[in-house]
Symmetry: C2
Subunit: 367 residues, 2 copies
C-alpha cells in the first residue's frame, strides 16, 4: 500500500536474489528502515526478532529464507538444516509450517545445483499468491463494511475496531483484516478505525496506526482496555481481526487479547469478523486448545520500547525490579464468537461445514 | 501495609496539620517519595495529577484538602471555593463528592474561626473510617479466597486476578480489592495474584505489583490482553477488582478494561467479585450508563512513562507523530456480570435488593 505517496511491499528480492530486502518493522513507526537479508540466519533472525511478523509475511519470509539457505548449502543436508532452523523461529503461525512444507516438497526432488534458483522462483510465487489472496480478502470483505455503513452509520463514518496488526505490514501487500478497510476506503466509503495499541509489542500503536496514516485512513489509537467501553457506547459498528492459525472448526488463534474483544462484540451485538488467507487454516486441528501458544520474553511486559523526544529509541521499565512477568503471545477465540470468516474464496461461517463449502477439496482428501 | 518491613499509610497529617503528607504515587514503583501538601492547590493538584488516586484515597485527600483550604480562608466564600476547586479535580469517583458533601455539612454551621481545626479532625475521622472499612472488606472477603483455595487449588496457590490498583495505595490502608488478599495471605493461605498492568497509566504494573511485593505476596504482571487466555487455561480461580462508583442497582464503574475481564470471567465460570466501601455507592443512580466517564489527556496513550536503566524517569512515544488517540479512564461493568459485591458490612448480590439488605437505612430514606 502507500508509503509517503508511493506503493510499497513488505518484502522483495533484489538483483540476482542473493539479497532479500524487508522493511524492519521493529523500527516503525518512527523510522522506515530497509534491511537486506543475505544469509539463512538473517532470515531466521528477522522472523524471531519480529523485524517481520504477521502470519502471512512470516510464511513468505520463511520461503525466501529457504532460498537463502539453498544459496549457502543446496545439499539434502542443507535443505534439512534450513527447514529446521526456520521452523524453530515461531510456533503459533501455521503459515510458517505451510510455507516450509511447500518449499521442501518442491525442492526435495530437484538436483542441488538447481535448488537456489528454483527456491527463489517458488518463494516469489508464494509472495504473489499472498498478494492475490489479500486482494481477494479485501474484495470479499469490503461489502461487509459498506453494509454496516449503510445500516448503522448514516451521516458519520463507519466505525471499525481492529486488534494488533493484520495490515499489509503483516502480509506482502493489502493485508488481511485491513484489506477490506483499504478496499472500502479506496472506494470512497467514509471509514474510521479504532486501533488497539496491542500490548506487549504495540503492533497496533506502532504498525497499524502507521500504515493507516500513510494510506490516508482516519484512525484513533486506544489502549487495549478501551474496546469494550466503546462497544457499550455504540461507537463500534464492526470488528475485523486477523488470524495466526485457524482450526478446521473455525477456532481462531490470534494476538493475545483478541478473545476479550470477541466477547465484548458478542455482548453488544457487534459483528466480529476474522480475515485470513487459507494458508492460515490448520486442517489437522479441530479444537483451538490444541494450538501451541508462544510464550515470549517477559521483558516485553516489564519494559516498553518507544522513542524519546530527540528520536532515540529506548526501552523503559514499568514494573518493580523484582516483580516477575508472564508473556503469552496469542489467545484462542472460539468459533462461537466469530460472526464469519473472510477468506480469499469468500465469506463463510466459522465452522467445519462453512470452511468445507469454500474449500471442498479438503473434504475429498479427508483433511 | 508493609513497606520495607515497616507499616505505612498513604496519607497522614504532620505537626499541627498545616501539612498533610502523602506518598507520591506517580514516582512508584521506582522511588518511594513522600510529598507534603501545604495549600488547597497542592491537594487539588495531587488529585488531578494522580499523585494520589483510587476512589477511597481521593475522598480522604479531598477531606484533608478542605482542611488546607480552611487554613487559607475559613470564610463562607472560602468554603464554597474550596469545595468547588476540589470537586472539579476528577469526575468519576463518587467518594470525592461524598467526602466533600460530608465536610461541607459538618463545617457550614461552624464559625469560620473554628473551621480549620474541625476540618482537620473530620478529615482524620474519614481517614480512620476508611481504614476500618477496608479492614472489614478484608475480613468479609478473605473467606471467598479461602473457599476458592479449598475448592479449586489443592496443592497449588489459589490464583486471583486483579485489574488496576485497588490496594492500600488506593485507600488509606488495606485497600479494597486487595484487602481480602492481604487478609488471606496474613492468615497463611498460599496465594498468587495475576496483576493486569492496566494501561494507560499502568497502576497495576507500577502500584499493585509494588505493594504486593513489599508485603510479600506472590504475583506476576501480565498485559491487560492476557487475562482472558489465563481464564480459558484454568489459571484463574477468582477475580477481585475495586470500584470507582457503584450504582444503587449494582453496576460498577471501574478502571477501563474491567468490563472485558468480567466478560471473560463469566465466559469461563470464574467468580468475579467487586470490593468497595459503601462511600463508593451512588444511591442516586440505578443505571451505570448515567455515570460520567472521565476522558483524560491522549498523551497518556501515545506516550508511556517508565524508568531507564540509569534510573531516569522519562516518557517515550509509541505511536506515529500524527495518529490521534482517545483516552477513556473507566468503563461500566453491568451488575449481571458481577458475582457479588464485598462491602464493609458483608457480601451481597450486585443488585438493588442485595445492597438494601446490607444498607437498610437507604430504604427508609427512599434513597
Amino acid at each position: 500500500m502507500n508509503v509517503e505517496g508511493r506503493r510499497m511491499r513488505t518484502i522483495w528480492p533484489v538483483g540476482d536474489g542473493g539479497t532479500v530486502e524487508i522493511i524492519d518493522q521493529t523500527r516503525l513507526p518512527h523510522e522506515l528502515a530497509i534491511v537486506g537479508l543475505v544469509t539463512l540466519d538473517d532470515a531466521a533472525t528477522a522472523i524471531w526478532t519480529m523485524q517481520v511478523r504477521g502470519a502471512p509475511l512470516i510464511g513468505v519470509t520463511a520461503a525466501y529464507g529457504v532460498a537463502l539457505g539453498m544459496a549457502e548449502d543446496p545439499s539434502d543436508h542443507g535443505l534439512d538444516r534450513t527447514i529446521a532452523i526456520l521452523a524453530a523461529t515461531r510456533p503459533t503461525a501455521v503459515n510458517l509450517r505451510w510455507a516450509l512444507a511447500e518449499m521442501e516438497r518442491r525442492l526435495r526432488d530437484l538436483p542441488p545445483s538447481g535448488r537456489f534458483k528454483a527456491a527463489l522462483a517458488f518463494a516469489g510465487e508464494i509472495a504473489e499468491a499472498d498478494v492475490a489472496s489479500s486482494r481477494a480478502i479485501g474484495e470479499h470483505g469490503a461489502p461487509l463494511i459498506v453494509a454496516a455503513w449503510q445500516r448503522e452509520a448514516g451521516d458519520r463514518p463507519v466505525e471499525v475496531l481492529t486488534h494488533c496488526n493484520a495490515g499489509w505490514l503483516a502480509a506482502v501487500d493489502w493485508g488481511t483484516a485491513l484489506a477490506p478497510i483499504y478496499r472500502a476506503h479506496d472506494e470512497g466509503i467514509p471509514i474510521h478505525v479504532w486501533v488497539d495499541e496491542t500490548r506487549p509489542r504495540n503492533q497496533g500503536a506502532g504498525l497499524t496506526a502507521w500504515e493507516l496514516g500513510q494510506h490516508g485512513v482516519a484512525h484513533t489509537v486506544i489502549v487495549d482496555n478501551a474496546g469494550g467501553h466503546l462497544m457499550r457506547q455504540g461507537l463500534v459498528d464492526l470488528c475485523i481481526v486477523g488470524s495466526d492459525r485457524t482450526t478446521a472448526a473455525g477456532d481462531v488463534a490470534n494476538k493475545i487479547g483478541t478473545y476479550l474483544k470477541a466477547l465484548a462484540a458478542r455482548d453488544n451485538d457487534v459483528p466480529f469478523y476474522v480475515a485470513l488467507p487459507s494458508s492460515t487454516i490448520d486442517w489437522e486441528i479441530e479444537d483451538g486448545a490444541a494450538i501451541p501458544i508462544e510464550r515470549r520474553d517477559p521483558r516485553e511486559v516489564t519494559h516498553i520500547e518507544g522513542w524519546t523526544d530527540s528520536g532515540e529509541r529506548i526501552a523503559v521499565r514499568i514494573t518493580p525490579q523484582h516483580s516477575p512477568a508472564e508473556n503469552y503471545a496469542f489467545d484462542v477465540t472460539p468459533a462461537r464468537l466469530v460472526t464469519a470468516l473472510i477468506t480469499e474464496r469468500g465469506i463463510c461461517p466459522a465452522s467445519r461445514d462453512g470452511l468445507l463449502k469454500l474449500f471442498p477439496e479438503r473434504r475429498l482428501t479427508g483433511r
